[in-house]
Amino acid sequence: MSKTEQTYKLTKKQKKARNRIVIAGSLFLLFALLPLYGWLKFFLYLIPYGIIGWDVLKKAALNIKQGQVFDENFLMALATVGAFGCGETAEAVAVMLFYQIGELFQSVAVHRSRSSIAALMDIRPDHANVERDGILIEVDPSQVSPGEQIVVKPGERVPLDGIVLDGSSQLDTSALTGESYQRNVQPGQEIVSGCINLTGVLHIQVTNSYETSTVSKILELVENASSKKAKTEQFITKFARYYTPVVVISALFLAFLPPLLGLGPVLMWIQRSLNFLVVSCPCALVISVPLAFFGGIGGASRNGILIKGGNYLEALSHVKTMVFDKTGTLTLGHFSVSQLYPSACSSEELVELTALAEQFSPHPIAQAILQKYGKTPDANRVSHVQELAGLGIQAIVDGKSVLVGNVSLMQQHQIEAIPLENPLGSGVYVAKDGQFLGSLVVEDQIKPQAKEDLRQLKEQGISKLVMLTGDGASIANKVSSYLGFDEVHSQLLPQDKVSCVETLLHAKQDGQLLAFVGDGINDAPVLSRSDVGIAMGAMGSDAAIEAADVVLMDDSLSALPKALAIAKKTMRIVRQNIVFALGIKLLVLALSIFGHANLWLAVFADVGVSILAILNSARLLYQSSKK
């Protein structure tokens, strides 16, 4: 983010404020060096006070007219005019000066945070090259309707979702997924808006209008996320409403009650009560807490994690139990050949023979074997193909009888096969001319990084990892022990998953939450039943975006530990800000009662604390740019 820091320029308003501070500050210093007394001092000090404070006084006057007594300007005006009245002329000017410097810093901090936020959301495409009547014209993406053809040149952002008609290229998906790896696209493939086209020219047929495109959905989701407020945020809003009146009324009591009880002169108590007025704005909290949540959600979105509200970000930080669906979440969701056990031929022969026999079968297992073979099998070498339901395939290959199928098929033909011991997937046995050749294992493979990602989740304080699957117990147990799960429930029908999650929800302790992670297909009821529903692989799937509270753009599990880390960091910063801001304010209030605090300290407790809290929250905005 160093770029924004370098290019940040003060706005016109901020420049004006800076100039006033410089002029009033110089005058103030000059007068402070002169030996001034009495009325002369009073009137001379009115000059810098007027220069620096006229807008505050003006706003205060307007506010009184509108019955706005608890406004910051009014309170600052009252505090400084009060100080003048008490004869503390230098303090009055200094406090106003200090206050304006603080306001300026605060304004700059807010503007910077806003531009960082804008940078975070900078995935919006600014134009689309659409082909109309054979001519290529540049229009706003919202002007393109589905079915039209667009052209995306290298270096441009893909403006709309669509299907590639012509051209091939590499795409940078990092703005959407946070992963900076490049994806190849070819004709016939779907393409998602928001990616950057790197190398070749692409002709794309648009499938969705701009309003329903992936980019629009992501932006809408992130912007609306701030309307779903976290409990902490709601508390701050409520607190802010009562804090100011309570402090101002206490100030009134402090000014007049002790003198009535004979505890000293009125003037002294009024001076002390002025401090109260200065620290009565809850701004530090009102800005920094939402900023922290926004920063957390924005930073997460940059990492390909869409969080639908501050409430879910907060919930995520309390998750102790994580429940995973197996297929498509822990595994890749498609079958592939994982092991080869040739016994009477070479591996290549085994695969080739199986591929030849299975080439006409639409079964996923056959597809996996064909993929392993990698070539198009010669159909002329095969004849008399027979599908044997529940068993496998019988065919004549190169004039010889070939059997491909499960153990039962081998047994039926009295072939002595070497049985596979507890395969993680399905075993496929192959025989030729009544002789056993070998076997292969086809399985839905576990995602390459899964084991490491789950270990990281444990490290981050997830105490219970649970796996749910429709698979048989032997496969389920093997996968779960390999990945380090604490609990596994197998042979579940889709509806069983809901009741399983419900049992887990009852079993956990108060204050600990449960998250369910699924691929967004068929698990909408479970996603909505759990405390935090996480759907993965949202690139293009509307169902997943709708059903879940947290959406991972990628299929990789490594976004999960990242999401947890961001949630925890956000909550830590929010807590720091609350404790720090309230702590300082209460301390200054307490010191003021006993006469140990002056107006300077009070102004620090107001704007100084605000600035520090904003800067603390802003840390969340910058983390996304770090790798």
């Binding site: 308003k13 706003k59 307007l62 509108q66 706005q68 406004d71 910051e72 304004s107 807010v110 945070s113 806003r114 936020i117 912007e223 609306n224 701030s226 309307s227 809003t237 802010a240 704005c281 809850p282 701004c283 009102v286 800005i287 939402p290 900023l291 926004f294």
Partner: protein, 73 residues
């Protein structure tokens, strides 16, 4: 209908909260949120009363922040 309006010179977060509170009780307003960070007001309101609501909302904003205004296109 749901409308989104940009806001200019929204400088104080506490004021944004106050604006939101006051606008939300205007007749014809179903839901409103004033986002201090993105400087946007999201308004769900009766179409027929929109003009009236915006005029009132503008006044409310001025009351809390004299420089702040809602950009109506």
């Amino acid at each position: 209908m749901k409308y989104v309006f940009e806001m200019e010179d929204l400088e104080c977060a506490n004021c944004a909260a106050k604006m939101e509170r006051d606008i939300s009780v205007l007749p014809g307003v179903h839901k409103v949120s004033v986002n201090f960070l993105t400087q946007k007001m999201t308004l769900e309101a009766e179409d027929s009363q929109l003009d009236q609501i915006l005029k009132q909302a503008q006044k409310i904003c001025k009351k809390y922040e004299p420089d702040c205004c809602i950009v109506t296109k």
